[in-house]
Amino acid sequence: MTQPNKPINRRDFLRDGLWGACFAGLAGTGAVLASKSSQQRFVWQIDPAKCTACGNCATFCVLQESAVKCVHAYQMCGYCDLCTGYYRPEPSALDTAAENQLCPRGAIIRTYVEDPYFQYTIDESLCNGCGKCVKGCAAFGNGSLFLQVRHDLCVNCNECAIAAACPAQAFKRVPADKPYLLKGQG
């Protein structure tokens, strides 16, 4: 310890050894992780079989307007005149008056197709994914309305904030090239 040079050399030696160990460690970690990784990207989606339309999707998304919207599986729809996804229970008339509608945003457009059928379309710019219509449709209709993460809006958070708040654990990571879990498609 009396010669000032010695400890410094020892220090350098230690440092070199440590450096090598760290480099090897990083390379090893990289190799192990690379074996667990894939080119495939994943995005968040709701499994409609699990979703209970609890309403959290409207409020827990990190975006002010939720990226979750109601979508319609038209081929399952009954095109009912009295749509229980569109109308509140016991509507005063089967018209498009706001007080009769279930949707708080007036986001469902009802259009006449042919007697006695009506088409229901979601205006996604108005929908906030609250799921009221989904509940109504599932309870008394065919269950053709359901909620999905819309990937033109979703910023694909590393961890979806709604997934963490979903009481039914209905969110999952799905491959980005098949980003929807649609109802009525087998």
Binding site: A53, V155, A176
Partner: protein, 419 residues
């Protein structure tokens, strides 16, 4: 039960109509997420930025250029790419992938996690200087830095280690990604978010006006790893590549307290005392580790509640024991799905066990780190000149302009260039 389980899924009650007017049934639209090529572009931009940052901090040595690259990164990785993927948050994905075989790690996340570590091992923290959008956000708003007293700084820094330990624990158990959830600046990058995220972001920004890079210094869990690698990096930022003349002009230059003074070896009497202190602290080390491990494992029932399955199992048990009234959304959904309570309990038990093990490991690690820091603080350092602290320097390049030797070197260089 069957009725209940059908509430959200629905049943085909009315047959789809046979249309006579030639009406075409519309298709459900499926707007696609951004194409995979974007990941490749992001990774490439990231690697180029890292390379440039290393060159700018070590060779070009120009604060102006560093700021330029920093602004580019802030706009590209921050505002353009919405702050995601980010190296800091990637810790969560890495921990999950390491402990959970069902999770597939996207390759782009691996690049963002690993590349800055490798670069730091060679070139120091150029990543923090000019690539990390979180660091950039704090760096550009710093107008009036106040000095944080060294002991306070050292104590606050321990927070980052605690944060890292818990972030890994929660991610590895599949509970939540804490770092992403409480990312203070992602709200700005998305320019969208609910009000508590805005409050978090704005308060961090306000603190950053006066305290240089508070998130980086006291919280950033990725910074913890970078610090250690930077200690042994092959090359590093120097205040001047020439000899320090100890003019003290750079003493106050660093807003992050990373310019450290020269120090002499201790006189023999004090040296002996410091040796005794170190011996005492080394004996203390296993005690601290044991204490940490004990606290960590004792906390496991509380920690485990971060996992939704454990929360649900706790709730169902409480409901069945009549301890609580009514149902939550979660317990209602669970009952409606008709799953087995016993299976749920078993799953919760295994998750709690993982928290017991993980909590103990995190505690031991934190105990060792705290002890190690104490020992390190008692070891006398001999420093011949003013220098940028190996671990703490963000390579921001502010101190270069304070050094008269460096100024002279620059002038000489420009004369050389014009000749």
């Amino acid at each position: 039960m069957l009725m209940l389980s059908m509430t959200a899924w629905g049943v085909q009650r009315f047959p789809p109509p046979q249309f006579e007017s030639g009406y075409q049934i519309p298709q459900t639209t499926t707007p696609m997420p951004h194409p995979p090529i974007r990941d490749v572009i992001d990774s490439a931009v990231f690697l180029v930025a890292l390379g440039m940052a290393s060159w700018l901090t070590l060779k070009k040595r120009s604060r102006k250029w560093i700021v330029g690259l920093m602004l580019f990164s802030l706009f590209y990785f921050g505002f353009f790419r919405n702050g995601c993927v980010c190296s800091v948050g990637s810790i969560g994905n890495i921990a999950l992938a390491a402990f959970n075989s069902e999770y597939t790690l996207p390759a782009v996340v691996l690049v963002f996690f690993l590349a800055p570590l490798v670069f730091t091992l060679f070139f120091g923290r150029g990543f923090c200087a000019a690539v990390c959008p979180l660091g950039a956000m704090q760096d550009i708003v710093l107008i009036r830095p106040v000095r944080v007293p060294e002991p306070l700084e050292a104590a606050l820094r321990l927070l980052a280690y605690v944060y890292l330990a818990f972030a890994v624990l929660f991610a590895a158990t599949g509970s939540l990604f804490v770092i992403c959830r409480y990312d203070p600046f992602v709200t700005f990058f998305r320019f969208n978010g609910n009000w508590n995220l805005w409050v978090l972001g704005i308060s961090f920004l306000l603190i950053s006006l006066f305290v240089g890079r508070p998130y980086c210094r006291f919280l950033c869990p990725y910074g913890v790893i970078l610090r250690q690698l930077s200690r042994i990096s092959r090359w590093r930022v120097k205040i001047t590549p020439d000899e320090c003349i100890q003019c003290r002009l750079c003493e106050q230059a660093c807003p992050f307290g990373a310019v450290v003074k020269p120090s002499k070896p201790l006189p023999p009497a004090e040296n002996a005392r410091s040796k005794r202190t170190i011996a005492f602290l080394i004996v203390l080390l296993p005690i601290l580790a044991a204490l940490g491990g004990w606290i960590g494992s004792a906390m496991h029932p509380t920690l485990a509640r971060a996992h939704p399955t454990v929360r649900l199992a706790n709730r169902i048990d409480a409901e069945m024991a009549g301890l609580v009234q009514g149902q939550t959304d979660a317990s209602e959904a669970f009952r409606a799905s008709g799953q087995d309570v016993q299976l749920l309990r078993l799953e919760a038990v295994s998750i709690r066990y993982r928290f017991w093990v993980g909590g103990m490991m995190a505690g031991i690690a934190l105990g060792l780190i705290a002890g190690g820091k104490l020992i390190a603080s008692a070891v006398p350092v001999v420093r011949k000149e003013y220098e940028a602290h190996r671990a703490g320097c963000f390579a921001c390049g502010r101190c270069f302009a304070y050094c008269p030797v460096e100024q002279k070197r620059r002038i000489d260089q420009s004369i050389m260039n014009t000749k």
